[in-house]
Amino acid sequence: MEEVIFGSNIMQLFIALILVSTFMILGSTRLYSCVRAFGIQSFLLACVATVVGISTGKIDLYIVALLTLIIKAAVIPYIFIYIIREIKVKREIDLYVGISPSLIIGGILVVISYYLIRSISVITELSSFALSASMSLVSIGLFIMISRKKAIMQMLGILIMENGLFLGAISLTNGMPLLVELGIFFDVLIGVLIMGILIFRINKTFETIDTDMLKNLIG
């Protein structure tokens, strides 16, 4: 946990860009651009992991960076695009909360995250920058899940949250042990596949992937 890493300009640039990519998802109404922004975000995460890897000299982090690049920046976006193409879903996203309010709420969430993390004194000043970005990602991911109607966007929201935690793990502890990281990648990949299967099923039975229709089981 050398403080130098997180203070270095390149790290701050990457983390700032990750936040920007999150806002690209928040501010877009087209499914493809959301998926593309997610791909960019994952690519930036891989960059962050590489930078930390270089400065700490841990081989594990290179492996993690490579896996992020392959799984999160390539395979998962590809799965998304496959789903969108196969179920011929309308390319526009239906929203519960409009674009401009979404962006404002996103901004507020970032500010709150920064204040919350600042108040935890045990974390070094510089790594708290990365940690607050990670908290922002988690909260914006949650917000995306509840404010978008399409089932695909809920899936994307979970992945954004997961990316946020990944950033958090790197900034707090230079990454979890390799075995655990591998397990998490495995779970994320299988999870995306199974959610994909579920989305196909939802589309087949309800003839839409709007989660509005999923309101029958109550009480």
């Binding site: 935890i120 045990v122 988690v138 949650l142 899940m145 089932a151 809920q154 979970i158 949250m161 997961e162 935690l165 958090g168 793990a169 707090l172 502890t173 230079n174 979890m176 042990p177 390799l178 075995l179 655990v180 397990g183 998490i184 495995f186 779970d187 299988i190 999870g191 199974i194 959610m195 299967i197 579920l198 099923r201 939802i202 087949k204 039975t205 309800f206 989660t211 999923l214 029958n216 089981l217 009480g219």
Partner: protein
């Protein structure tokens, strides 16, 4: 040893997938689950002799608590596989599922078993990975029927639990951070065996934060209110044998995660913080279950809400603390697993016969299905905590712990809630089991497989209500020592 235990369900699953006929797949499944059970029992005996077993470069381990979870998983898994033969066989005969789905069902069933066993024997905070895997597999089991409602339930289950589990991952990262500060960056810094030794030196602020995230995260999976919303949907829409596994075992696995972290967190934060949180969530779960049980119209959902209640009771037991509280909670995990599985099996038989889940449309089960009906009534008495059945013992122990450890208010509320739940539950069930049968319902019980499965569980419920065998008692006491 542990490797073989994990290998058995995996191999069974693969064999099930490639089998040809219905007969074959059933034989493989039942014999596979018998082997798993035997290996599970061997592990329990081994742990009894050696205290702690560690293998596979420290990745797998078993202490008394792991062995206890393995015991529950393998027993319920075994009876559920027996029950599956009867239940899925009936659905197969009536054309609800075809050969392909039957094979898929059995192979997923055993993978599900594998993931739950893995939760028990992971020597690592990477427990997270195993718990997430259980969600993935069970979501697939839920969409076995392509009904609208089961797909809705599966989606909600998947989304809510994955988000919950994500929070638990954050808690895990925080714990790892606290551990790294003491142990340095080694792969061991996430292992129980090394964590427990230094847990008292962890930063209390971080551990408090971590425990909150863990409790919310795994609490979602364990069905603690107010994160329980996926539970009634999932438990009522899954195939019945799977409902029994979800309710009896999976919830316990998530609870196991919480209790493990409770042990670590308590060492640095002090008991008051963690205990109070558990008591609050426990009481909330009990309280929320009350109105839903009183006014329930669907009997599988009734059982699901009762699971919320019982998870609340376990959380309360741990929260009350002391030897008695924890002893009660640990014993309750076992008792609840057995009794709730019995109830779901009974409900499954009723469902097969009447083809409806509405309580209003069913009556006279005791007359049409004497064996199922009788066991269902006994199960109802047991699950609501009446003597002389096993749950009475564990609930009473927890209650006593509440009073003796000074949580008078919580204990009184607890008592009040379980009395109301008793009334509501019994009222609903009595409408189903007594009275005259609805016209058009033929007499006769379901297949013998289902009755044997229920009978085995019945033995546990009655015997443990009267006395606790010494080896079993010793085992629980060891678990209590680990948890405290």
């Amino acid at each position: 040893m542990i490797e073989y235990l994990l290998l058995a369900p995996l191999l069974t699953s693969i064999l099930c997938f490639f089998s040809r006929t219905k007969k074959q797949v059933e034989t493989i499944s039942v014999s596979g689950s018998i082997i798993t059970l035997l290996l599970g029992l061997t592990l329990v005996v081994d742990v009894y002799k050696h205290e702690v077993i560690v293998t596979w470069q420290n990745a797998l381990f078993a202490d008394a608590f792991s062995a206890y979870i393995v015991l529950i998983v393998s027993i319920v898994g075994f009876v559920a596989s027996l029950y599956s033969v009867g239940y899925m066989g009936h659905e197969h005969k009536h054309g609800i599922i075809d050969d392909k789905k039957l094979r898929l069902y059995y192979s997923l069933f055993h993978i599900f078993m594998f993931t739950m066993l893995l939760v028990g024997v992971t020597n690592n905070l990477g427990l997270w990975i195993a718990i997430e895997m259980t969600t993935l597999v069970s979501a697939l089991l839920m969409i076995l029927y392509s009904r609208k409602s089961s797909i809705e339930a599966a989606w909600k289950y998947m989304i809510i639990c994955t988000v919950g589990i994500t929070f638990a991952l954050f808690g895990t990262i925080l714990t790892y951070f606290a551990a790294v500060n003491i142990l340095g960056e080694t792969g061991d810094a996430l292992n129980w065996t090394s964590l427990i030794a230094v847990a008292d030196q962890f930063d209390p602020t971080i551990m408090k934060l971590a425990f909150i995230f863990i409790l919310i995260g795994y609490g979602t999976k364990a069905g603690l209110a107010p994160m329980h919303t996926w539970l009634p949907d999932a438990h009522s829409e899954a195939p019945t044998p799977v409902s029994a596994l979800l309710s009896g075992v999976l919830l316990n696995c998530a609870m196991y995660g919480i209790i493990r972290f409770y042990t670590i967190a308590t060492k640095s934060t002090g008991e008051a913080f963690t205990s109070n949180l558990l008591i609050i969530f426990g009481l909330l779960s009990l309280g929320i279950a009350v109105p839903f049980i009183l006014l329930q119209e669907d009997y599988k959902r009734l059982l699901a809400y009762s699971s919320v209640e019982h998870m609340g009771i376990i959380a309360l037991g741990i929260g009350f603390g002391g030897v008695f509280g924890i002893f009660g909670a640990i014993l309750h995990m076992f008792n609840h697993a057995m009794t709730k599985s019995l109830m779901f099996f009974g409900a499954g038989n009723i469902l097969l016969k009447h083809e409806t889940k509405e309580i209003f449309n069913i009556s006279g089960v005791v007359k049409t299905m004497p064996v199922t009906g009788t066991m269902f009534v006994v199960g109802t008495l047991a699950i609501t905590g009446s003597p002389p059945f096993s749950i009475f013992i564990s609930e009473f122990t927890i209650l006593a712990a509440g009073f003796s450890n000074g949580h008078i208010g919580a204990a009184v509320l607890f008592l009040l809630f379980i009395i109301m739940i008793f009334a509501g539950f019994f009222n609903n069930v009595s409408r189903m089991v007594f009275g005259n049968p609805k016209p058009g319902i033929e007499k006769g019980d379901m297949s013998r497989w289902t009755l044997v499965a229920m009978g085995i569980l019945m033995v546990f419920i009655i015997v443990l209500g009267v006395y606790i065998p010494t080896p079993f008692y010793d085992m629980i006491m060891r678990v209590v020592e680990i948890v405290r």
